[in-house]
Each structure stands twice: as structure tokens, then as C-alpha cells.
Amino acid sequence: MRLTCPYCGPRGSEEFSYYGDASVTRPQHETDWYDYVYLRENPNGKLHELWWHASGCRSWLVVTRNVTSHEITGVALARDHRLAHAARQAGASQ
């Protein structure tokens, strides 16, 4: 499996460390902490995941990947993914 790092280009997956689901948001309130830490949707289709380029540029990336076919449809810096997500949420609430 190869991931295309925005800085380093296509690299083997062994260069990266996998963290998990990128769609969970750190909560504002303590009451949501359990959900954030422990509960996952775990879909069998498309997933946004956090990968860390451990043996490369050491950036955090959000990879959009189908967890059944392993097909990768998107890679973004985690920062950019989060900013885009926030912008969409702001747009939706207007």
C-alpha cells in the first residue's frame, strides 16, 4: 500500500505510523470525553484516517481510504483537512 505524502511524494506504507479515525473531534466538554476516546464508527467503506509520516517529513496526514479495497482517494495535511472541515461546518451553519 502506498501513500502519497504531499511533501515527499509516493511512499510505502511502512514509512508511516497509523493513529486511527480522523473524524473524531476533541470535545469541548468533559461529558463527551468517553465518546471521543472510546467510540468509533468503524465503517467498512470510506474512512478518513490519521497517518504520521514517521520515517519521512513527520507530518500528520489525513488519508481518505476505502478500508475494504484499500483504495486511497485522498491525502491531505491534517491541518488542511481540519481547516476544510471547519469551513464546511461554518458554511453549513449559515
Binding site: M1, G12, S13, E14, Y18, Y19, G20, D21, Y34, D35, V37, Y38, L39, R40, E41, N42, P43, N44, L47, E49, W51, R65, V67, T68, S69, H70
Partner: protein
């Protein structure tokens, strides 16, 4: 038919042996008291214990493919009860005791081979950690030994004692651990459950689970709609997907792929189950002569039932560090299974929301050795609506309460367990 040496002889002298089907090709009825979703080792064992211990045979096991095609057919056959935590030890020891009487209980040859499970250690700190685990087992009355390097060498000559990087300092040995032929476990439980009246329904995929206002459920399947008072999910690997059909959208589980490998047959070389202590690698040898080995999960979410090459390389590196002599043996087959990696690496056997809905999942990569106890405990839970004593800590609520059962001490990240 009861299997016996007399039957074997009788059939052998016939012109054409006539062995009856081991279980009926049952068609689904409209209604059952209990539906077990998932015809794997756990689901079939559950159905058997429901009939055997609780007199409930108005039971159906629904399997989307063929029974034994999931993780019960994909594991590396190891059975052991050498866990460290109080929440785990009695459960796995209960399983090991059931493994020991399984073949008589089921009248089926499951090739239970208590050849010993040896965990090698490579440093003083690791020795201390293994001694601690061994003592935890001893406190529960389970026999286990801490061997010195010399004692290991007498027992297992074929590993690399001269390795400067990973010196073998000794090992923790559970003699009663070993291997069991995994396919036979599925077939043995299926046959025994079927004999007691359970319907085993293959090629029957569950597509919906509706809770009824008056109680009970209707289960939509690829072979029609079936009603049941109680539904138990035993589909580890696909727990999240199937639980979502019942309206449970989030669980402390991620699905991950675990790879395993088998080599061409060679003469008997590995007489025990041996685990390497300086990397995740473990090996045993099947009766056909193939070396059966594996290591870590790949580490990313996957339902693909196949993994990637970096892990193959890692596993083989572990093998070469421990046992360089196998370097030229050819790997003939590799495969993957989907594991329910839970948030503490330990299983969940608990009620799941609606009354009459139950979950047996979160088995991470340790489900096979648990099979008989998982079946016994899940059957107990479904029949009596309370947990079996040895499984009472495997609750879904333990995460919120901080009572995680975390053998590796890695915290709330499934891929680290």
C-alpha cells in the same frame, strides 16, 4: 451417528463408505426463540451450549457464508491460558479446561494437542515481567514454569542461542497450552449442536435487525425474514457493521487485519508453540508438517481479509532472528482475517442496548483460544440474561467506568493491542 473406531472399521470394509452429513442443511423457519448471528467458532459453540447446558434448541445459527469460513478458519490454532490480568485468567483457563474435554464432549476429533506454549524472554526486565505473569497465573491455580536458558535449550535445540542482539535468556512455559485443529472445531460444534436440534443455516446474510414494540426482533436475511425473542451477535471482524443494523452506530472497536502464514511441509522441527520475545513472532508446526506462524496486525483499519508486505517482512525478520534455520523453507500460503480490535484488547460479552439483544465481540486477535468458553459464556448470558462468572468483567460499560482490561497496557488505541 456416533463416531468410533468401530464405525471407522465398518465403513472401511464397505465398497463405498457412506458417512452421513455432519449437520443438516437446515432451511430457516419463520420463528426461533434465539438467533445467533455468525456461524464461526464462537457462534456455533454458543448454539451448542444453549442446547447442551440450557435445554434451548429452538435456536438458529445464521452464517452469511459457509460455517468456518471466517476467523475460525484463519487463525494459527493456538490455545493457552497464560494471561496476566485477573479479568482474563479465569476465563481463558475455563476455555482451556473445555478444550481438554472437547473431543469426548463433542464426539469429534479436533486434534487437541497440548504440546506446550513457550514464551522466550531476552532480558532481565522481560524475565521479571514474565515471572510476574507466571505468578499471576499461579495465584489462580494454573500451572506454569519459568525456564532458564539451559532448560529452554534442552527443550528446543533448533533456535538461535548465539544471537548477540536477541540472546535467549529463558522462557515461560505453559505445558497444557498447545494447538487445536481449527476447522474441526467449527465442524465439531456444528455437528453437536445440530444433533441437539439447532438449525445451522448457511448462505444466510443478516441485512436488518428490527426491534419489535412488544419485545423480540425480526431479522431480515438473504433467505427471508425470521422472528426471534433473542438475538446474539457473534460476528467478530464485522461487529460494527452488524451492530449498526440493530441501530448501534458506535462501539469501542476497530476492524483490523491480521495475517498468518504457512510453509511447505517439512519433517518435525517445532514440537511446541514458541513465541519470540524480542518482536512479535510466534510459530508452531502442523501435523502436515507446515510451519504455521504469524506476528503483528498490519495496524490500519481493514475489512479486506488480506494484508500488506511490510508486515510479511517484519514477521519473517522475527522468524529469522529466532530460528534462522528455517530461512529457506518456502511459504506456500498467506492470508488475513478481520479482527475486532477493542479499545483495551479484551473482549466484550454483554447485553447490547435493546432487551434480548446481545454481543459477543471485541476479540482482537485472541478469539480462537477462547472458543469453548466464549460459547459457554455467551450461551449463559443469552439463556439467563446474566453474565457467566468468568466473563462478568467483559462488559461494554467497563470503558466508561475506567475498568479496562488492558494486558499490554497500551491505552485506548486499538491498533496497539
Amino acid at each position: 451417528m456416533k463416531y468410533s473406531v468401530f464405525e471407522l472399521v465398518k465403513q472401511a470394509v464397505r465398497k463405498a463408505p457412506v458417512w452421513p452429513r455432519a449437520w443438516r442443511a437446515a432451511s430457516p423457519k419463520k420463528q426461533y426463540e434465539i438467533i445467533v448471528v455468525g456461524g464461526g467458532g464462537h457462534g456455533l459453540a454458543t448454539a451448542y451450549f444453549l442446547a447442551r447446558r440450557h435445554g434451548r434448541n429452538n435456536v438458529a445459527v445464521l452464517e452469511k457464508g459457509w460455517i468456518g469460513g471466517g476467523n475460525v478458519g484463519r487463525n494459527t490454532t493456538i490455545v493457552r491460558s497464560n494471561y496476566m490480568l485477573d479479568g482474563n485468567i479465569p476465563f481463558y483457563e475455563h476455555a482451556l479446561k473445555l478444550w481438554e474435554t472437547m473431543e469426548q464432549d463433542l464426539n469429534y476429533n479436533t486434534m487437541v494437542s497440548q504440546r506446550g506454549v513457550l514464551n522466550l524472554y531476552h532480558s532481565d526486565a522481560q524475565r521479571d515481567a514474565y515471572a510476574r505473569r507466571g505468578n499471576a497465573m499461579r495465584l489462580h491455580g494454573i500451572d506454569v514454569e519459568l525456564l532458564s536458558a539451559d532448560q529452554v535449550r534442552t527443550m528446543v535445540p533448533a533456535i538461535d542461542y548465539e544471537n548477540a542482539r536477541f540472546p535467549i535468556r529463558g522462557g515461560l512455559l505453559q505445558r497444557r497450552g498447545g494447538t487445536v485443529r481449527h476447522d474441526a472445531v467449527a465442524w465439531g460444534y456444528a455437528r453437536a449442536a445440530d444433533t441437539l436440534g439447532v438449525d445451522i443455516i448457511e448462505n444466510c446474510e443478516v441485512r436488518g435487525i428490527q426491534e419489535l414494540a412488544a419485545g423480540g426482533f425480526t431479522v431480515e436475511t438473504s433467505r427471508g425474514t425470521i422472528a426471534a425473542d433473542k438475538v446474539g451477535l457473534s460476528v467478530a471482524g464485522n461487529t460494527s457493521r452488524v451492530a449498526a443494523l440493530a441501530g448501534i452506530d458506535r462501539l469501542p472497536i476497530e476492524s483490523h487485519v491480521l495475517q498468518a502464514f504457512v510453509t511447505e511441509g517439512i519433517k518435525p522441527l517445532v514440537h511446541n508453540v514458541i513465541t519470540f520475545g524480542a518482536g512479535h513472532f510466534y510459530i508452531s508446526q502442523s501435523d502436515k508438517g507446515g510451519l504455521v506462524f504469524g506476528g503483528d496486525i498490519d495496524g490500519y483499519n481493514s475489512y479486506a481479509q488480506r494484508g500488506n508486505l511490510p508486515v510479511v517482512e517484519d514477521v519473517c525478520e522475527g522468524g529469522m532472528a529466532m530460528m534462522p534455520g528455517i530461512g529457506r523453507v518456502r511459504i506456500v500460503r498467506s492470508w488475513g482475517g478481520v479482527c475486532d480490535m477493542s479499545m483495551d484488547g479484551s473482549p466484550i460479552i454483554d447485553k447490547l442496548g435493546a432487551p434480548g439483544l446481545y454481543l459477543n465481540g471485541g476479540w482482537s486477535y485472541g478469539g480462537f483460544k477462547a472458543t469453548p468458553a466464549a460459547g459457554d459464556c455467551f450461551a449463559h448470558l443469552m439463556a439467563r440474561d446474566t453474565s457467566h462468572d468468568v466473563a462478568r468483567n467483559y462488559t461494554l460499560s467497563r470503558f466508561a467506568a475506567g475498568r479496562v482490561i488492558d494486558e499490554k497496557g497500551q491505552g485506548a488505541q486499538p491498533n496497539l493491542h
